[in-house]
C-alpha cells in the first residue's frame, strides 16, 4: 500500500489490518516512553489548505511517536499567497525530500492528483465533501474497542450528511466491517442521490435512537442556515439534536460519538457530551494511534511501497 486516499479503496481486509496495527500503537502510547524508532529518518509533511487543529496535531504526534521528522506547510503564511500553483507547491515540498504528504484540501480529488505527481506516499486528511479516511478508521477503532466488533451493530449517523466527508468515509468503513447504518437528517441535508450507499434513511431521530448501538453526531455548520438549507438552528436542535431528553431513549451501552469540534447546544447538548457513554475524547486519543498505524503501514513498505 503506497497511499491512503479513500476508505472505498481499502476494503475490509485493508481496514482490519490497520485496526489490528492500531492495537500495537495503543500499547506504544501507554508506555512510560511512548516512542519507537520505527520510522527514523523518514519525513512527514502536512499540507493543509483548510483550517484544522486536531487533525494536523494528531498526524504530527502520530509521526513523532514513530520517530519520523515532521514539517508543517501552512498555506496562509506561504507562497500560495503569492499565487503559486498546487503543483509547484507540491513539487517544491517533494524536492526537500519528504516520504509522506498529509493533505487536506477544499476540493474533492486533490490527493489523487498529488499522488500522480510525486513519489512520496500521500495521505488524504480530508478532500472537500468527499472522504476523510483516517477519521473513519479512528471511529471504527473506537467502536471496536468499546463494543468488541462492528459486525451486526446498528449505527445512526445524524446531521449534515450532504456536506460531510466524515459521513461518507464512515458509511463505507462501518458497512465494510459489517455494521448497519441509518442516516438521520432533514431531506435538504442528504446527498441528492444515495445510489450505491448501503444505508437506510430516516427523518425521525426518536424512533431510531431506541435501536442503535452507536449514535454518531455530525457537526452542524452555521453557514447551512444562511444557505437556506435549515429554517433555523433551534429547529434543527429540536428535531435532530441529541438533547438531554433524547439521550434518555438510548440503550444502556449505546455510544455517543462526534468527530469534533462540537457545537454544544446545537447537535449535542452540553451535558450529553460529558456522559461516560460519550467517547468523544477517546476518539481523539485513538486518532493518534490510528494515524501512527497508517504512517507505519505506508512508510515501512519495501521500496516505499508499490502502487498496487
Amino acid at each position: 500500500m503506497k497511499h491512503l486516499l479513500s476508505i472505498a479503496e481499502l476494503g475490509r481486509d485493508g481496514l482490519e489490518e490497520l485496526l489490528d496495527l492500531t492495537d500495537s500503537m495503543i500499547e506504544v502510547a501507554e508506555r512510560r516512553i511512548p516512542k519507537v524508532p520505527a520510522l527514523r529518518g523518514k519525513t512527514v509533511v502536512s499540507l493543509f489548505y483548510e483550517d484544522s487543529t486536531r487533525t494536523r496535531l494528531s498526524f504530527e504526534t502520530a509521526a513523532k511517536r514513530l520517530s519520523a521528522d515532521t514539517m508543517n506547510f501552512s498555506v496562509s503564511t506561504s507562497s500560495v499567497k503569492k499565487g503559486e500553483s498546487l503543483r509547484d507547491t507540491v513539487l517544491t515540498i517533494e524536492a526537500m525530500g519528504v516520504d509522506a504528504i498529509v493533505v487536506r484540501h477544499p476540493s474533492a480529488g486533490v490527493p489523487w492528483q498529488i499522488a500522480s505527481w510525486v513519489d512520496a506516499s500521500v495521505i488524504n486528511a480530508g478532500d472537500g465533501w468527499h472522504e476523510h479516511p483516517t477519521q473513519a478508521l479512528l471511529d471504527s477503532y473506537t467502536i471496536r474497542e468499546r463494543l468488541g466488533s462492528l459486525t451486526d451493530r446498528h449505527i445512526a449517523i445524524v446531521g449534515d450528511i450532504k456536506h460531510s466527508r466524515v459521513a461518507r468515509s464512515d458509511v463505507f468503513a462501518f458497512t465494510a466491517l459489517g455494521a448497519h447504518v441509518t442516516l438521520v437528517a432533514p431531506p435538504t441535508l442528504l446527498p441528492p442521490s444515495l445510489e450505491g450507499w448501503p444505508v437506510a434513511v430516516s427523518h425521525d431521530l426518536d424512533s431510531v435512537l431506541k435501536t442503535v448501538d452507536v449514535v454518531y453526531l455530525l457537526r452542524m455548520q452555521k453557514e447551512r442556515q444562511s444557505e437556506a438549507l435549515l429554517p433555523s438552528l433551534r429547529e434543527y436542535t429540536a428535531q435532530y439534536g441529541l438533547t438531554r431528553e433524547r439521550a434518555r431513549l438510548l440503550g444502556e451501552d449505546t455510544l455517543v460519538m462526534h468527530p469534533g469540534p462540537m457545537n454544544r447546544g446545537v447537535e449535542i447538548a452540553a451535558e450529553v457530551a460529558d456522559l461516560p457513554r460519550a467517547v468523544i475524547t477517546r476518539q481523539v486519543a485513538n486518532g493518534v494511534a490510528v494515524r501512527s498505524a497508517v504512517l507505519f503501514k505506508l512508510l515501512s513498505e519495501p521500496d516505499g511501497g508499490s502502487d498496487a
Partner: protein
C-alpha cells in the same frame, strides 16, 4: 521467530517442509526444566526475575519456563511473564515487509529487574538486538539474559545465549521450526512468487 520472518522475506517466501525431527515434545520439556534450574542457579533464586517471550515463537516457551520455575522453586513464588513484539525496533524496516504479530504485554516496570528473554530459535541475532533496544523503553533492567530452545549459529552480531536447549548446526538456507510437538529441521519450499 527467525523462521517466521524468513517465511515472509522475499525471495524466500514459501512453506516450511520438515526433513528431520531434532527434538520431540518430551525433549523440549526436559530442556525447559534444565534451563529453569540453570536460571535459578545463576540468579541464586528468583528475586527480581522477569520472563519475557519474543512474539511469536518465544511466547509459549516463556510461559512454560515461568510455570516450571514456579513449580521448582515452590513456596507460592510468582514469576512475572510478559511478551514482546520487536517489529518497531527492527533494522530491516523498509527492506522487507515488517508488521507486528501481536501486541506487546509487559505489565511490570523493568527497572532493577533481571530479564530473561526467551525465543525459540537464535539465528542472526538481529531480533535480539531489536529486543534489547525495545526493553530499554520499559525501564532499565539490572541484567538481561537470553534463553533459546535452538541455537543454530550464523550470528551476524556479537550476541550469545545464556541458556540453550540444543545447539543445532545448520546450513544458512535450512529452516528450523519449533512447535508444540517438538523441533523440526527442514527447508523453505517456494510455492509462490516473491511478493510484488
Amino acid at each position: 521467530m527467525a523462521e517466521r520472518e524468513r517465511r515472509i522475506t522475499p525471495p524466500y517466501g514459501g512453506v516450511f517442509v520438515a526433513r528431520k525431527r531434532v527434538m520431540d515434545a518430551e525433549a523440549v520439556r526436559r530442556a525447559v526444566t534444565r534451563i529453569a534450574h540453570e536460571v535459578i542457579e545463576r540468579n541464586a533464586g528468583l528475586t527480581d526475575v522477569v520472563i519475557i517471550g519474543l512474539q511469536t515463537g518465544g511466547v509459549p516457551l516463556a510461559r512454560s519456563l515461568a510455570e516450571t520455575l514456579e513449580r521448582i522453586e515452590g513456596n507460592g513464588v510468582e514469576v512475572p511473564c510478559g511478551s514482546l513484539d520487536v517489529a518497531f525496533y527492527r533494522d530491516d524496516i523498509g527492506l522487507r515487509p515488517v508488521m507486528p504479530e501481536a501486541v506487546t504485554s509487559i505489565a511490570v516496570d523493568l527497572t532493577g529487574k533481571v530479564v530473561v528473554l526467551v525465543d525459540d530459535v537464535l539465528f542472526t541475532g538481529r531480533t535480539i538486538r531489536a529486543a534489547l533496544d525495545a526493553l530499554t523503553d520499559y525501564g532499565r533492567p539490572k541484567a538481561v539474559q537470553l534463553a533459546v530452545m535452538i541455537d543454530r549459529g550464523h550470528r551476524e552480531l556479537p550476541i550469545r545465549p545464556d541458556y540453550v536447549g540444543k545447539n543445532l548446526p545448520t546450513r544458512r538456507d535450512e529452516a528450523v521450526d519449533v512447535h508444540s510437538d517438538g523441533v523440526d529441521l527442514g527447508d523453505m519450499i517456494n510455492d509462490r512468487k516473491p511478493r510484488p
